[in-house]
Symmetry: C2
Subunit: 472 residues, 2 copies
């Protein structure tokens, strides 16, 4: 493809995206495609010869689009907001066009330095002190693994330089709440701690970790010859945006010399609103924090922001220094390849830069406040409806709700009824919610925060939920 062909096809693709986004509301949110339906439309063998790209764009529309679940749809209430704002789309285009590989400073100085700039802007935006330094990781799950690896190495005085974790005498233990994200559990497994050394601590009626239970667990483990290594606090759990008591956990972590990692993957974005910062009170006691601008701030995935108090743990755990990677500037610059797991790095800083230039901090704040208000509206509607229950507080934009018809008792039938409501909504195509289980009860989880979601979409969802509960 010549630059001229690229120009022509690129314009057509930009137009296609503009039309897709302008008309997104008319599409079913969750793809109705059956398993195998997309795959069946492709030949078994790769194309031997090239073809004009306008045919490929037609296929994109005809074959791919029906298999897409539309995360930027105003009826997207599932999982978490994952907006790829149009400014972020442009940044991805620019990054691909430049094709820079940013493993080292020298391999594109602007990529490293723009990352330093936007990560420091983000630090200020969420109200963290200058004690924190930021770096982009891929996803929160990867950032949490990075945190546990650093914790493991700090606790063992860098056992990796000797016999590794397998040569340590005292087993290390990781603590998190029973409502912490599955990626915390996975990270503990991948880092080699083992399920027996991951202590999931009980939560209170608001689904937040009970600090007294953590205190007892750490004490008991120590007495049993184990060593507290890392504590993971969640600010805004996935299921219900529960808020672990960061201050208390920071104190306990400090007492035992354990690493405190704060998983604020989604809720951390809300810290650009000063009125939300009580939610992670004590955050300055964290060794590391992850929050995802690729969730609620309009930055397309992947863009996890990872903040640490002391980058030296990162560098000591992650760096290698083979001859073919050394550069003349190594002593005076940051080589971000040593700040994470993968060697290769794309130029992701452009995304936050473009979004901030387009919307400004005030624009982002206004949108988040709109979503919080929409969540409060739905909360009040649910609370006023006699047959509906909320099973968690609404701190932010997530609601955990459950339809309980008069006289219905907890149990399998009621769970099936609520699962069926969620599936009816999802198959209907106008909204997409996540069925989940909270403290053993089937719930319908509504996460508000797509860029395009206005009050009328939340109102329409509420009408659909009630209709589905009535069996239409």
């Amino acid at each position: 493809m010549t630059p001229e062909e690229f120009r022509r096809t690129g314009h057509a693709l930009v137009d296609w995206i503009a039309e897709y986004r302008a008309g997104i509301e008319r599409l079913p949110v969750m793809s109705p495609a059956a398993p195998g339906a997309t795959r069946a439309q492709f030949p078994a063998a790769p194309p031997e010869r090239g073809a004009p790209m306008d045919v490929v764009l037609a296929d994109l529309d005809r074959v791919i689009l029906p298999g897409i679940t539309h995360w930027n749809h105003p009826g997207f209430f599932a999982y978490f907001p994952s907006n790829t704002s149009l400014a972020s789309v442009l940044a991805d285009l620019a990054a691909a066009g430049l094709g820079a590989q940013c493993m080292s400073w020298q391999t594109s100085p602007a990529a490293t330095e723009l990352e330093e700039v936007v990560m420091d802007w983000l630090r200020q935006m969420v109200g963290l002190s200058r004690q924190f330094t930021g770096v982009i990781q891929g996803f929160a799950s990867t950032a949490t693994l990075v945190a546990l690896l650093c914790a493991r190495e700090r606790s063992t005085n860098f056992s990796q330089t000797r016999g590794g974790l397998q040569a340590e005498e005292k087993p290390l233990v990781v603590y998190a709440s029973e409502e912490s994200h599955s990626s915390v559990w996975k990270a503990a497994m991948l880092a080699g701690f083992g399920k027996a050394h991951l202590h999931l601590i009980e939560t209170d009626e608001n689904h937040a970790l009970i600090p007294k239970k953590l205190e007892i667990a750490m004490q008991d483990d120590d007495e049993r010859g184990m060593r507290p290594c890392a504590v993971v606090a969640t600010t805004g759990t996935t299921n219900s945006t529960a808020l672990d008591p960061v201050s208390d956990m920071a104190m306990l972590a400090k007492l035992w010399g354990a690493w405190l990692h704060v998983d604020a993957a989604m809720a951390g974005d809300a810290m650009i609103l000063p009125e939300c910062r009580w939610m992670w009170q004590g955050i300055e006691g964290a060794d590391s924090i992850v929050l995802n601008p690729h969730k609620w701030l309009g930055v397309g995935p992947d863009f996890s922001a990872y903040f640490v108090q002391d980058p030296q743990h990162l560098v000591r755990t992650m760096s290698t220094n083979p001859a073919y990677l050394r550069t003349a500037q190594d002593t005076e610059v940051r080589n971000f390849r040593d700040w994470g797991i993968p060697l290769g790095r794309r130029f992701r800083a452009l995304k936050l830069w473009f979004v901030l230039r387009d919307q400004g901090v005030e624009g982002l704040q206004a949108r988040l406040r709109r979503d919080l208000q929409n969540a409060q509206w739905l909360k009040e509607a649910v609370d006023a409806a006699p047959d509906w229950q909320r099973t968690a507080p609404v701190h932010l934009q997530t609601l955990c709700i459950r339809h309980v018809p008069a006289g219905a008792a907890d149990g399998a039938a009621l769970d099936a009824h609520n699962l069926s409501i969620a599936e009816t909504i999802n198959r209907g195509g106008r909204a997409y919610v996540t069925p989940s289980v909270l403290k053993g009860k089937q719930i319908i989880r509504v996460s508000i925060g797509a860029e395009t979601t206005e009050r009328r979409h939340v109102e329409a969802l509420w009408a659909e939920l009630r209709a589905a509960a009535r069996g239409r």
Copy 2:
């Protein structure tokens, strides 16, 4: 930004990229920016209010571009080819525009199924049997970590479900050649094996692992109470594209019940040429293989292709199953979130699809053959020049060369002379090479394979090298 504003700015950005690519040869390959120069052009605080995006595009040109090292420049001979072909740029644009998050099948069925399709196409293209199943990982470094984690879990009958690596009695050992990539060493450290349990095996005069040495090491370790867990063979080392004897290593791995991972990050791309497949003879004995279409096949990063014999090891090591991730289709589809470390996944399959539709397998093959011929041309030129030495065979497109003036002896002065040649070239702006060290000697490493690199660029590089060696 409205879809209409996106359309306008998107067209302008497409034009900017087209002009950038068309005129790339006039730019200095390695950015001449001084440390801190880019950063200094940004305000200390984030923008409070949004601004029109045309200003941002102007800044992209004025502030960012001078800080870019141009990986798609015809004078790019550093590191490895990392072409982001223009078809791949369009795919990144399409992926961002769709904004799909592909952690589960249901969250965009087309993304999962297109990944299945293109990974099977790629399997056929590189001549692997149907025994292998492919999945996209981010970078080779991540894929190698995934391989060592699966090896660790297979060797311990899934210790992560019990006390983890820290509860194992017999230390596990990982083997790789002393010329294996630093990411192999890093993966062994991150997986918890520890430096003492990473055995780097001696290489022969062609920098390939000596199988007899591996055999002895495995035997010795067993006798010392350790357990061989994983063997990493490299097809095409980073320094010199050395070829480890995969067949012999597969036999030894099998003998000891160890996992065989083949790191073919760059050279694996060449396996689309049947005449190159002797290089990884015995590949069918591998448990896992990584190769990077984002290196030499025109697919922009990140796109590492990871092939395994038995996906169950991946799924058992990587999967979690919280209520909020369960979907109605879980038993009949692949949820790729369980096939790698991060939960989140972008829609990367589009990139290989677009590139193959644009160029076809034949187009890619023709380009790789051109690059191999250019490398042979340079090899012959170097071999014919009395003052130049090659310190490794030229299997593919990488040359390790060294200027040795008549009468010069090995040592610090000669090393400094060669480092200085590389730095002169890089500062000159017309070409970019990688200074490295091979078997203790400073070399100049020339990696040929940018899409835009024609014979004339290799000839120009050779003229520059000789001029720099003469001190101009």
